[in-house]
Symmetry: C2
Subunit: 282 residues, 2 copies
């Protein structure tokens, strides 16, 4: 497994791989790899000749009051995990490599951001779109892998790739779950034992939504109200949002029709959990 | 020579060319090809296995009061010129192909635009950056060719390619000139005989600037004032701007040092002429 720290070296590697017509599967990460990332790497490994991951904590996607400096980093551990999973190249650039000077062009994600988690993170997805544009150009992957746990990110990347015709296939990978249904997250350890016990009710509520829709309910307001009321009684945390939107456009809809997302965020004492399901309603 | 009208067909062509490791030289145009374009195509032909040109009048780079609808179009003539010059593929998409729906991400060129022609064309370079990003992804060229007559456009594309790490070499091509030095332009026919006779003084003024700098003058204010006064006496048109800036950053400079551009725009009765030289001052 190669560790590549400069853009120039990475471009050199990519050029050699491209000359051999090898397909590249790319998993962009901010490091501190967990099972979610592992499922992405495994998926990339299955369908590509070469797997490249990037580890880069991107300052551009952190707000001024967010935790860029304290964001967890452990490159040695990440390196071992990547090696075990058969990753071929780890692109691990410094901030100076990626942003040697201020950018002359600003990317602003104007759609799909003013809902769900985006509402409380202005500018976050602008930073995501910017760094991904750079990484996509440096790595030139055939396929790029993103976890559906952050479905809004997948939706924004879908917009980026389609609107700007990147020659890249976006592969959304299903959320990895605990046996009781709770979406896996490195943040779950911050739950108290009581909170951990009731947290699977978030996913259960999403399953209930699916049933109600299957039973014929189409009114998003009614669904949202009923689901909110139902979830509220089963958890001690406070519901940050419970939204039903079109997918991947993330537009408000009066009636459930076609591809939709049901997404929930719950605030607990020391952690905020998110989960969602995407379903196609005929 | 192939005429390709859809993004899908173009991507298919590109994939086949890439699989054979052929280099692609790309000349983006808005059609109505003239000698400036021809020099770009000839240059592309010399250094690449395949030459692709695009003909697309991009609505996004026209302001609300600009001439998108009346912009000259003559595809049959363009086709003949391209064929004669040995172009391999003409990408000729419709507006619906390029912009099937509103974009979810906006690109804003924040640097290099508030000078020269950009000052009077707000949003113009945002549209240029957007369409080029799309075209670069669709064509995947090894090299992209731009005429230095529009040096500000070259500077913006330099920013786009470098800041976002496009795997593309930007090739700026020198301005093609009449024997008397006047920069060639399809708009020159709109000059009256008297205007045509004096118009070469624009280029002569740029040459004088070069001499003065060679003679040791470094003060940009002094140079600008002297050049303005000198040009003013030799033309009947009005000087729209005469600027000395760093290149490609297009920043204001007190003193001439390193790579700089001297650019002039002159308004005549029915046409506005632009010209520039870029020099490296040791």
């Amino acid at each position: 497994m190669k560790i590549v720290r400069t853009i120039e070296d990475m471009q050199q590697q990519v050029q050699e791989l491209k000359a051999q017509n090898l397909s590249i599967g790319f998993v962009p990460t901010m490091g501190f790899l967990h099972e979610g990332h592992m499922s992405l790497m495994e998926e990339a490994k299955k369908h590509n000749d070469i797997v490249v991951i990037s580890i880069f904590v991107n300052p551009l996607q952190f707000g001024p009051n967010e935790d860029f400096d304290s964001y967890p980093r452990d490159f040695e551990r990440d390196e071992k995990i990547a090696e075990q999973l058969g990753v071929d190249v780890v692109f691990y650039p410094s901030v100076d490599q990626m942003y040697p000077k201020p950018l002359s062009i600003k990317m602003t994600v104007t759609d799909r951001t003013n809902v769900l988690c985006g509402r409380s993170r202005p500018g976050h997805f602008d930073g995501v779109a910017t760094v991904l544009t750079k990484l996509f150009h440096i790595i030139q992957p055939s396929r790029a892998y993103f976890g559906l746990k952050d479905a809004q990110q997948v939706a924004v990347v879908d917009g980026l790739i389609n609107d700007f015709n990147f020659p890249i296939e976006l592969v959304p990978v299903p959320t990895v779950r605990e046996e009781d249904g709770l979406a896996k997250s490195s943040r779950n350890v911050r739950l108290t034992p009581e909170e951990r016990k009731e947290a699977p009710n978030i996913y259960k509520t999403l399953q209930v939504a699916k049933e109600w829709i299957a039973d014929g309910e189409r009114d998003t307001n009614k669904l949202t109200d009923r689901l909110f009321a139902s979830l509220e009684t089963t958890i001690s945390g406070s519901i940050d949002y419970l939204e039903i939107l079109s997918y991947p456009e993330l537009g408000n809809i009066d009636s459930v029709d076609g591809k939709i997302i049901i997404a929930i965020a719950v605030k607990y004492s020391n952690v905020r959990l998110i989960d969602n399901i995407i379903i196609d309603v005929a």
